[in-house]
């Protein structure tokens, strides 16, 4: 149905020719003409600065630099371009050959990034990216000097993914800072970044990152191909990319993962995933994505493994409660009262007595009210947001029960659901949809409705793939070895392999048993000979 509509839309869409750059936009020898070319391309905006000066070598040459104010670094422009060319060039004694630009590039300008270019469109692109362009009289080419301004907010812990223990840094809006943060985490020289530009008008820089040898080449190729296929005029955030490259565009389940934390991104890359950085946003997409990712919190790896396993089980339980509890409550109270133990049934019947609406309406309405309160609390300024929460939760919750409009158990169920839905934040959006639809189904068909809804959801989930990887793996299809990081969180020294579905190219993380800690407190007392020698060697290495 949706596909049909889309096809219709595609037919009705008006194609408008996208203006292509002139076939021949080479620079000319006359500097005035070149400046005019730039003016024609960029217009008269006040932030585009053209600074003319005279370069004094053997003879005087007219020169000009062009930059966009604010994008470039004032200090670099002064130190690396204006000072050497205007002041220090006079003292230059070395012979200038016929290649003036080459001479300047090699001898005069002490900037880190330098490039010659003779066509207008790449020059303009570089200019708008924060570089400075140097034009010289008599030269049909120009120099691009890297003067990009790297001023940015400091890297701080993202609000969306908070950890108790663990690093406090987070990605920022600047692409280079982000790639540097990742490089600092992964020292391996085979960490590769590939850059491309997407968005005809926003010209957003997008970088694909992966670790060569671990990442599946086919997945990398697929990511590259999908990104290249995007033909739109704006990419403002990571989600713009996500919606363009997701495997199941109509599915409410996220088949592309994302994170704001460098440690999470590094861990995923080292499992064999591919990351896609987008300039101007701190959110980094990672793929392939698994359903289970939502339950793997970075804190799991920063705390004791038993505790981490326990917390992870709590998280699964909370997720189940968050979408199943309202539906179960409706089904039990409406259709299957016999399943409720008798004492509980009596007290619940007493509470429900006298409320005017059927249970399903109560649950759906209270659920909707909660979502409204939450949305209002999020969008408002922070101090007011808290007020809203208090008014909404306490006043409405309390008053609605004492007025006899809604039964007290309903409020308890909705509140519990609300709390548990925040335990797994990345699956929260899907939680709302599942919760409401299952509650309605339970109201219509009781437990049969819930089972049908779950079967439908399961069928959908089992059919999803993310970049060739089954979305529910390693649980469905079952891979017992990979349950080490799903059903439990085994000690880190026992994580011998990467997840099979993703990192099967280079599955080994460490040799089996080699890096296990010595099993006895007395040094090497009852270790087998081979283990002993290896353990000692390690300890010696540590001492060095």
């Amino acid at each position: 149905m949706i596909r049909f509509l889309l096809r219709k839309l595609r037919l009705a869409r008006h194609y408008k020719e996208i203006p292509t750059p002139l076939a021949d936009d080479s620079l000319q020898k006359n500097i005035e003409k070149n400046i005019a070319l730039f003016r024609a391309e960029l217009g008269e905006s006040p932030d585009i600065v053209i600074r003319r000066f005279t370069l004094k070598l053997k003879k005087e040459i007219k020169a000009a630099i062009i930059f966009v104010e604010g994008l470039m670094d004032q200090q670099v422009v002064y130190d690396c371009i204006l000072r050497p060319l205007m002041l220090e060039a006079k003292k230059e004694t070395r012979p200038v050959g016929p290649d003036l630009l080459g001479f300047i590039q090699e001898n005069l300008i002490p900037a880190a990034g330098l490039e010659q270019e003779n066509r207008l469109s790449p020059l303009v692109a570089a200019l708008l990216g924060g570089d400075t362009v140097l034009l010289l009289e008599g030269q049909a080419a120009a120099l691009i000097i890297n003067t990009k301004n790297r001023e940015n907010r400091a890297s701080e812990e993202p609000d969306t993914e908070v950890t108790i223990l663990g690093p406090r840094d987070g990605f920022t809006e600047d692409l280079r800072t982000n790639t540097a943060l990742l490089r600092r985490k992964i020292g391996d020289p085979r960490l590769v970044f590939e850059q491309m530009m997407i968005g005809r008008r926003t010209r957003t820089i997008v970088a694909i990152a992966y670790v060569q040898g671990i990442a599946n080449e086919k997945v990398v190729e697929e990511v590259r191909a999908r990104l290249k296929r995007i033909n739109t005029d704006m990419i403002l955030d990571a989600n713009y990319l996500r919606e363009f490259i997701a495997d199941a565009p109509f599915s409410p389940f996220p088949t592309v993962g994302f994170t704001e934390r460098p440690d999470v991104a590094a861990a995923r890359l080292l499992e064999g995933r591919v990351a896609v950085f987008t300039d101007t946003t701190p959110v980094v997409n990672t793929m392939p994505a698994l359903f289970i990712e939502a339950f793997q919190n970075p804190d799991d790896y920063n705390t004791h493994f038993l505790y981490a396993t326990f917390i992870r089980w709590l998280r699964y339980l909370a997720f189940l409660i968050s979408f199943l509890l309202p539906a179960l409550f409706v089904a039990l109270t409406t259709y299957h009262q016999e399943l409720i133990p008798t004492p509980l049934l009596i007290s619940m019947a007493a509470a429900v007595e006298g409320t005017p609406f059927p249970m399903v309406i109560e649950v759906v309405a209270m659920g909707a009210i909660f979502e409204i309160i939450r949305e209002a609390g999020v969008r408002l300024a922070r101090p007011i947001g808290q007020t809203i929460s208090i008014v909404g939760a306490l006043v409405i919750g309390e008053a609605v029960v004492s007025a006899g409009l809604v039964a007290a158990p309903t409020v308890i169920v909705v509140a519990l659901t609300a709390i548990t839905s925040f335990v797994v934040p990345t699956q929260q959006e899907i939680g709302i949809i599942l919760r409401l639809s299952l509650a309605v189904l339970a109201g219509i068909l009781g437990a049969y409705g819930i089972i049908l809804g779950l079967l439908f959801t399961l069928s959908h989930l089992a059919s999803l793939r993310s970049f060739g990887v089954p979305y529910l793996s390693p649980v469905i299809p079952l891979n017992i070895g990979d349950l080490k990081d799903v059903a439990v969180r085994v000690p880190l020294w026992a994580m011998w392999t990467r997840p099979r579905v993703i990192g099967w190219h280079e599955p080994r993380r460490q040799n089996f048993g080699e890096s296990a800690p010595p099993s006895s407190a007395v040094e090497g007392a009852d270790l087998p000979a081979s283990r002993k020698s290896k353990g000692n060697k390690e300890r010696e290495n540590l001492k060095k």
Binding site: H336, L445, Y448, G449, L478
Partner: protein, 363 residues
Amino acid sequence: MEEGKISSFQLTRLVMSFMMATGLIFPPLRGVWQDSWLTLLFGLAGGIVFALIYTTLCLRFPGQTLIEIYETVFGPIIGKLFSVAFLWYIFYLGAQASAIFITLLTTTVFTMTPRYVFSITWIIVSVYLCKKGIEVIARVNEPLLLVTVFLIVGTLFLVLNLFDPENFLPLWNISLSELLWAGFGTITFPFGLNIVFGLILPFLQQREQGRSAVIKGLGGAALVLLISLLITVGVLGEVGEIFLFPTYQAFRMIQIGQVLTRLELIPTLNFLTMGFIKGTIALYAVSLGTAQLCKLLTYRPLVFPLGILMLIAAHQSHPNIGVSLEMIERVQPFYALPFQLLLPLLTLLVAVFRRLPVKEGQT
């Protein structure tokens, strides 16, 4: 036609679900109450023999489903006639599965709701799953089967306080003719039903493991059914024979403290998922077979119309529980035998006689 591939372990689990589904709520108990474990083993042996015949056929014609094999062996006209009859049988199986489970719901839990409400919603989800292909069906089956087995084994511990081993005495209290008749019934229903997998075997990753996978599945199903028989007979005793759904009744007896009481809804819903898988596999097999019969490129457009037909057939052929029981106990053994045994056997003999398939190089 079908791009997906399933592993042999997934096939084993599909066979298990398919065999267990109706066996769980209509266990092979009638008339042979405390000796039902014997008929169950009898049925398992027969089912394995049936499986050997058609898997031999499938191994002889690698990559072909039964529909294609019939056509290769008997030629286009007779082969198609056989295929149509065979497809009708599978179609009927799917209708039977959904009818039985909907009857279970309407007679026990939802006594006031019309049957169509259940069957229509059932078919919608079944069609949705069926269109995703055999790979997804196999994946969906995995957790459902796991939960079912877990529940049944767990229940064995929950009913220990009601369990009376004397309910199985006296052993061997059955005449040979009774045993043969009951065993024959158990062979054709549920164990002989695995002929359906003759349409699914070609989509196996490791084709040569198909036979062992099917037989393992039969064994697993027999084990689970045996446990459910133990629970039912051990808890209910001789009196259980008066119930329509003895397993349901046995689960109903669970009574531990004031909390774990009247839990029958949970296993019922769980068996329902098994029935759902069974119906979906049947619907898938019929759609796939029909598409191969008519030489279509894909089976997907057939799923929805066939699903609706299956829904109507379920209501027409199983209007109430009495008809279903009569069908399973008296008609089914003779009705199913040609499709489960005679047709594959005949095909195998003709294939051997005609020296099919013709290998390359021979003329």
